[in-house]
Symmetry: C2
Subunit: 221 residues, 2 copies
């Protein structure tokens, strides 16, 4: 059975799936780069893969294709249980999923390209206004997560204990995005420490948006 | 052990948790109404409960409080397994979670009060522009879900087979919201049929935003 990943270098949701696959020791047999900047997600060929026309999508052997990064992460964790991406206790899983959803539900969807396009093209906002919008929602999520990490004894080397979980995968995608958007992260030292710890792991570092085969050469490092 | 739910009548994420609790035969021993229109979510007392200052939050016996509706739904399904809110197979669970996340990640967070407030107060949009924004993202999610429901043999009486799942809970919250915003739902007959089927169930009907103790009297029915 072969795994095909539909993604894009700068898609933060694709970044999450890449990290999870790396942690599980999986490598996609095929990767399709869907250029979000060129609007390739709206092509009929991709719409047939994922009707929502967003990234990522994952084909695990047989169709149908799996969609939505959080659903894909849970699927990968069920199908390839080691190492686990969720704690062993129900309350721990709830905390990890809650932290992950602060990013995946309440922050990232507000600064994706389709939303920035709407702000620019439909609402005629200038670059400074679009940046202020992105920073506003990015910082709101950072404040919530920072407070959680500071106030809970479950916080360890990573968001929850000393092994990376879905929460770290999502927080890493968010902090990397915040850095690309040049958000001031100095008010969030615990979150930054956790993500820097994550990025020491090869599974996270190798999945970084600036290190993909489709990353533009002037940005890759 | 007692369960305390922090919610608000018109919070769609609280609506989801209410449905799940009803399906599981659970009743909160205590409900705290946090008035989002009056900004009670920003009070220090609620910030101490949920640092993200959003609804819902759930206290299951001992602290810490559980947060983020999707994490709470997964927790309830783990702790009270019957009836299950997820299918028994990994691919089925991925489809259900994917459909749920189309709403919970990519639609609902774009039309919540805090975002509408930003559009009105920071960006000085008028009512028609704010409505157009909400309708744009509401319809995008409806189109994606409608295509999934139309094209997959797993679709049954509900989104996935003949028992309600997380996907139905999220789709119901979205369709009820779309109706409150007066979105034209005629292009999405399969989704509407599924939600109308859900609302025949007492667990969904009783959880409806317009039927809560804190629903304003002129709206409740």
């Amino acid at each position: 059975m072969s795994i095909k990943l539909f993604g894009f270098w700068r898609s933060m949701a694709t970044f999450r799936v890449r990290i999870a696959m790396n942690l599980k020791g999986l490598k996609p047999d095929e990767e399709a780069s869907i250029d979000l900047m060129k609007g390739q997600q709206f092509a009929d060929t991709y719409k047939a893969v994922n009707p929502q026309m967003v990234l990522p999508a994952l084909l695990d052997g047989e169709p149908p294709v799996l969609f939505q990064s959080m659903a894909i992460l849970e699927y990968l964790d069920e199908r390839f249980p080691k190492p686990p991406l969720l704690p062993s206790d129900a309350r721990g899983r709830a905390r990890v999923r809650g932290l992950a959803q602060i990013v995946a539900s309440d922050a990232h969807p507000l600064y994706v390209p389709r939303v920035r396009n709407y702000l620019q093209k439909e609402l005629k906002l200038d670059e400074a206004q679009v940046n202020a919008w992105c920073h506003h929602w990015q910082a709101a999520a950072m404040r919530a997560i920072e407070t959680h990490l500071a106030g809970d004894k479950e916080t360890g080397l990573y968001c929850h204990g000393d092994a990376p979980t879905l929460a770290d995968i999502c927080l890493a995608s968010h902090v990397v995005a915040c850095r690309l958007f040049k958000l001031d992260l100095s008010p969030f030292p615990r979150s930054v420490r956790v993500v820097d710890e994550c990025l020491k792991l090869e599974a996270f570092a190798r999945a970084h948006p600036l290190k993909q085969p489709d990353t533009p050469k002037d940005l890759s490092h």
